[in-house]
Amino acid sequence: MKRAGFTTRWLPMLLLLPQLAIITIFFYWPAAHAVQSSFFLQDPFGFGATFVGFDNYTDLAASSEYLKIARFTLLFTLLVTFFSLALALLLAVKADNVIRGAKTYRTLLMWVYAVAPPVAGFIGLIMFNQSWGPLTEAARAIGWDFKLGVNFTDTAAAMVLVSVWKQVPVNFIFFLSGLQSIPKAVREAALIDNGSATSRFWGVTFPLLAPTGFFLLIVNITYALFDTFGIVDTMVKGEPGNNPMTLVYKVYVDGFRGNDLGGSSAQSVVLMVLVLALTVFQFRLIDRRIHYT
């Protein structure tokens, strides 16, 4: 067999160049900049900068407010990831069983994917409007005096709900195609060997879905940590007050609203390290235990 390859060393490098340039310009360069400015306190207009060493980081560690936001972000990420995966899996399994009208169901479940995060947040604002929001009224009907934007827990619940709602369709698409790629023969064999639908699911279907699930787990953690920005921003109306916010939103609040470039840079470096850790975790620890077919 003939091995296909480049005859020259330069062509592949040339072909890689655009991608490398993009990564350098849009990732490495700003990242290096962030690391650098996290060691300074800078006049917003750029007239001067004072080197402060690790002060920006120690200030963060000493700030009970920052730690509170970090704890909230952790909880928020856990809840959003868990519920968006669980619900999507449930819906995918159900949709997979449907034969008639399957396309309609799928389309209905998928359309939310097209909604942009700020729009999703805005829909949440409307649904939870204090005086006439349908979901506020529903909550009142069960005796929960729901107050979006006033009560910390209520606002957090609404944020989780909207973020989950927004993310379920993506997960659903992946789970559904994962399910449909399980060979029919395997399913039939399982059906003969095992009577209970539940044990068939956990014993056969679920392990075969694991690669998809693992991929989605990482995607969802990243989503909850970063992409929910638009939802958080819309739901706190740009002024967080005593409402919950996530770490990435705090970067924005301090950097863009407050013009504290040094402090905000330190926070984004912390987030960068977190992403790095997540990536290492993805490739080193879990990846090995999952068998891709």
Binding site: V236, N242, D260
Partner: protein, 434 residues
């Protein structure tokens, strides 16, 4: 080929023509919606009024976004000629020496007569430096005032309260009896803190409220008068006299518009918007109440809203254009138009006189409240405040006030937290400028 070069020549001629005929300047602002249209109208009228200069207003989002965009543009050397900066951002832009040309210098250098005494009293010094030189041109200036639902007060058989004592013993119980939530208010840091200090002539920060600078400015928010006030507010909340609907401005204005809340503390700049709405009741306005227990001589409030800053780094011709626009903007007719259309106060005495002479306040008495309150006697601590990283300090206040009003913290703890975090932020800010 021939036609192409002809087109190029024509295009070149056009460009050349435009650049010799008019000096073009840009103006970045944060006036969205109807306010933005009014800004555009003023710009168009200015452009039509002469043919030496052309101004282009550009909407840049919220106040914070406009400021950040301006700063980023300045760092890239692409700054607009005029940048609108709001009250809380004033320290950032005024503190950055060399970022702007003080409006007073700009006007004087370009032969425009300037006398700070022409400006109404509550407006004069907020955007001035420690020596009293005006740095930013006050533009959309407003002050917090007390709006009330006329029918609701009639039903309850009370008049608008002058003092908070009157509110809590007479007005609020009667309004509750009549089926209303007596009070709501937007922007707690602005009304129940900054202007609370001014109304009661209390110092808000050391170093003359931060104006004389230095790197040791400390906030004086943790004082007995304001703690007593917030304690009272929580009691009103328990009694059902006061309700808090969230940090957002509109959250607290909407229940007033819906007729659920009888008295709303808001901005004099909300007058225009409120009058254009079909509210289903008559509203009027009067001064912010004060605590008799704190002062027997309530003082003026100061302006909120925003000012226009002339950014440095432009040529003399463009600066002349900016000066010409400022001159146009402060004309009594322009100010009166802006005042009438938006509800923001006219910034000069002459414009105020014009509005009076035109009978504007006979038709809409509530439109005068803001400016009257700004013209009340001044005190030692009433010209405003100047604190760095103040946007974040406001965020801290909003957070702690929200916690007080949802029972997550006590008044005592909240003000301790505000004091500590604000002072840490002030210290950080002074480091950024050293």
């Amino acid at each position: 080929m021939k036609s192409l070069s002809f087109a190029a020549a024509a295009a070149f001629a056009l460009v050349a023509n435009a650049s010799t005929a008019e000096t073009e300047i840009t103006f970045w602002h944060a006036m969205g919606g109807a306010l933005g249209e009014t800004v555009n109208k003023i710009a168009e009228d200015f452009n039509a009024s002469q043919d030496a200069y052309k101004i282009t207003p550009v909407f840049k989002g919220t106040y914070e976004e406009a400021l950040t965009a301006g700063i980023a543009a300045f760092r890239a050397g692409e700054q607009p000629n005029i940048l609108q900066v709001f009250d809380a951002g004033a320290a950032t832009v005024i503190g950055a020496k060399g970022a702007t040309i003080p409006v007073q210098d700009l006007l004087v250098e370009n032969g425009v007569a300037f006398d700070i005494e022409d400006y109404i009293s509550g407006v004069r010094y907020f955007y001035a430096d420690a020596e009293g030189k005006m740095v930013g041109m006050p533009f959309n200036s407003s002050s917090p005032i007390m709006y009330f639902n006329v029918q609701a007060l009639e039903e309850a058989g009370v008049s608008a309260p002058k003092t908070w004592e009157e509110f809590q013993t007479v007005t609020a119980p009667a309004l509750k009896e009549a089926g209303y939530t007596a009070l709501s208010q937007s922007h707690l840091p602005w009304i129940f803190t900054e202007n609370f200090m001014s109304r009661h002539d209390l110092p808000f920060a050391t170093n003359d409220n931060g104006y004389t600078g230095g790197d040791d400015t400390q906030i004086l928010v943790n004082n007995d008068a304001i703690k007593a006030h917030f304690t009272a507010v929580t009691e009103w909340q328990e009694e059902g006299y006061f309700e808090w609907f969230g940090t957002g401005w509109g959250d607290n204005q909407t229940p007033f518009e819906e007729g659920k809340v009888a008295i709303w503390l808001g901005s004099s700049g909300s007058f225009g918007g409120l009058s254009k709405k079909d509210l289903g009741f008559d509203f009027s306005a009067t001064y912010l109440p004060y605590w008799e227990a704190v002062t027997s001589e309530p003082k003026q409030t100061f302006i909120g809203g925003a000012a226009l800053f002339a950014m440095a780094g432009h040529g003399a011709e463009e600066n002349a254009a900016t000066a010409a626009f400022f001159e146009y903007l402060t004309k009594p007719e322009t100010q009166y138009f802006w005042h009438q259309d938006t509800g923001y106060v006219p910034i000069t005495e002459a414009a105020y006189e014009l509005a009076k002479a035109d009978g504007h306040y006979d038709r809409f008495p509530a439109a005068e409240v803001g400016i009257q309150q700004l013209s009340l006697p001044a005190g030692e601590h009433t010209k405003g405040y100047r604190m760095g990283f103040y946007v974040q300090i406001r965020d801290v206040m909003n957070r702690e006030y929200g916690r007080i009003l949802t029972g997550e913290t006590t008044v005592e703890e909240a003000f301790k937290a505000i004091e500590a975090e604000a002072n840490a932020l002030l210290a950080r800010f002074s480091k950024t400028q050293s």
